[in-house]
């Protein structure tokens, strides 16, 4: 490989990049509504066993990712109770597929996403919700027209953090979805493999650089959107 195309990506590298973006995007898109709902319940609802739910949501944050991947394999593998049912009923196979990679990253990033949203939700003045109530708005109406728009910066922040975490997730993905080029081999997995391969140094370096660029782009983008939303919601 000569220096002229040192910065051009090989098709394998492009594949890893594209796959990473797809896996992360799907992971965020799928888990976002759940995260909003969970954040709302943890912030607003009062019910017995709330601490337990809170702990369960945050578990992936403290568990070794490999353990999360292993648990997913047990539950969602083709012989696992949920995986078996999904395969039988819908013909969906998660283990060792890119959809499975998305599931693994979603579970790992979920606590980060919920945290960001819950912080935003806690900052929304409940007095505003009370005011909306006295003006005739029912519970869902209040959530849709007051709470949700005001927590939008938190939803965005949560989404971006989760997207970044999904791009970088290694342990849970390799355990649950394995390391299949073009199917489940995301950037970190590709970098890992390149390092293990003789003469893979250049590839590893380029992929690492790519990861850094992606991370920066994400940060800048999130800052930009956060400002737009702040201006839009009139938050000071």
């Amino acid at each position: 490989m000569d220096s002229a195309n040192a910065f051009l990506l090989t098709s394998a590298e492009q594949q890893a990049l594209w796959l990473s973006l797809t896996v992360a995007l799907r992971s965020v898109a799928f888990s976002l509504p759940f995260a909003v709902a969970v954040a709302w319940f943890l912030s607003r609802a009062r019910f017995p066993g709330k601490t337990l739910i809170d702990g369960l949501v945050h578990l992936p944050l403290v568990l070794p990712p490999v353990v999360v991947g292993y648990l997913l394999l047990i539950g969602f593998g083709t012989r696992g109770p949920i995986g078996h049912w999904l395969l039988d009923t819908f013909g969906i196979r998660l283990a060792f597929t890119s959809e499975g990679a998305s599931l693994a990253t979603a579970v790992m990033a979920f606590p980060l996403m919920v945290r960001a949203m819950r912080l935003a939700l806690d900052a929304v003045d409940r007095g505003l919700e009370d005011a909306a109530r006295t003006l005739g708005a029912g519970a869902f109406d209040r959530f849709r027209t007051i709470t949700l728009p005001l927590m939008l910066p938190g939803i965005l922040a949560g989404g971006i953090v989760a997207f970044a975490a999904s791009l970088g997730e290694f342990g849970a993905v390799i355990t649950f979805a394995s390391n299949i080029p073009g199917e489940t081999q995301t950037l970190p997995l590709a970098i890992y493999q390149a390092i293990q391969t003789p003469d893979g140094d250049a590839m590893a370096a380029r992929l690492a650089l790519l990861s850094i660029i992606l991370a920066f782009a994400g940060l800048i983008l999130s800052e930009y959107f956060a400002r737009r939303i702040k201006a839009m919601t009139g938050a000071t």
């Binding site: 909306a132 003006l135 005739g136 009139g234």
Partner: protein
């Protein structure tokens, strides 16, 4: 007529109140911690009383015996909070229309009327963050009105404003009841607001009602309840504007006591006005003094004398067809040898009656 009778325990504090509210402005007056805001929240449905009954007009909103508890969003209680609570992500217009679009049935109060009465035309496109404190509260009042409420609840709406802003908003509040004929329940710890706005007063102390009634009934008793001391003793005279003397800058107001000269009022002759004459603004002489600045002098007969403290004397005076109250030092009363049925002259400065 509305009535509220509720109990609520909050830690060591117990609220146990019962009062009636008329169709005018009923002011709940008391120190902070007297339970005023809790009452407003209970009427609005944001706080659940332990027991009792809340009836606004013909509608029962809460009755613990009959297990009636109308949810807040269906109570039709327009609330103006101390901090305004405008929705920061919506424009003034969107804030104003938030309750309007959700109100059901006839909507006699429309956006044009409210923006006109409250002077909001210029603000409609703005965001709450760009409004001054006074503007914010006016928008909050408009938003509550446009929800077509059966009662307007105002929880210290001016408390977070400085004196200049208060004076900017007060005239709008004075105009509300006349314009929209919605009963108002108004919470404040500011005596000035009570005297300007109240038709009825409920004096609250330590979670109970110390006294209630029309402003006149509560503050014109010589045995003024201690909670009403902040309002001061005074008599409200129902008057009618007689003539304007523009060159002198005075308006003549005919009252049962006689004709008062007061600083020019911007109202048509024939308009009914209520003059509140504070007892402390009334001086007593035994003969009509000459060469004196005081514009209003009335021959009067002392009806009743009281000494609430050893150094203060309060007088009820019979004047013309009406009644005036005066508060003097006990020393002054002794020097004039005042006694029941003494003939005196009551003096009231015009500027003391400025609005």
């Amino acid at each position: 007529m509305s009535d509220v009778a509720i109990t609520k325990r909050l830690g060591t504090f117990t609220l146990d109140v019962a009062f009636e509210a008329g169709s005018g402005v009923t002011v709940l007056f008391g120190r902070s911690g007297a339970g005023k805001s809790t009452i407003v929240k209970a009427i609005a449905g944001l706080v659940n009383p332990d027991s009792g009954r809340i009836r606004i007009g013909n509608t029962i909103l809460f009755d613990s015996d009959k297990r009636i508890d109308v949810p807040a969003q269906r109570r039709g209680a327009g609330v103006v909070f101390q901090d305004g609570r405008l929705f920061p992500h919506l424009t003034v217009r969107e804030n104003l229309l938030y309750g309007f679009t959700r109100a059901r049935g006839e909507k006699p109060i429309d956006l044009a009327t409210v923006t006109g009465v409250l002077g909001l035309e210029e603000l409609l496109a703005r965001r709450p963050a760009t409004l001054s404190g006074g503007e914010r509260q006016r928008v909050a009042v408009g938003r509550a009105l446009l929800a077509q409420p059966r009662v307007l609840l105002m929880d210290e709406p001016l408390a977070s404003l400085d004196a200049a802003r208060k004076d900017e908003v007060l005239p709008y509040l004075e105009a509300l009841n006349a314009h929209f004929s919605i009963p108002v329940i108004y919470v404040t710890h500011d005596a000035g607001e009570v005297l300007r706005l109240a038709s009825d007063v409920v004096l609250l102390a330590n979670g109970t009602v110390a006294a209630s009634g029309t402003l006149n009934a509560v503050t014109s008793r010589l045995d003024l309840p201690p909670e009403a001391e902040a309002l001061g003793l005074g008599a409200v005279l129902e008057g009618r504007i007689d003539t304007h003397d523009a060159s002198a800058g005075l308006t003549h107001v005919a009252t049962p006591v006689g004709v008062f000269k007061v600083p020019l009022l911007a109202r048509e002759p024939g308009t009914r006005v209520a003059l509140r004459v504070n007892a402390r603004d009334v001086a007593i002489a035994l003969v009509r003094p000459e060469a004196i600045s005081v514009q209003n002098m009335f021959d009067a007969t002392v009806e009743e004398i009281r000494n609430p403290t050893p150094h203060v004397t309060r007088l009820a005076l019979h004047t013309g067809e009406g009644r005036l109250l005066a508060e003097l030092t006990a020393d002054a009363a002794r020097r004039l040898r005042l006694a029941p049925s003494s003939k005196v002259v009551a003096l009231v400065k015009s500027v003391a009656l400025a609005r």
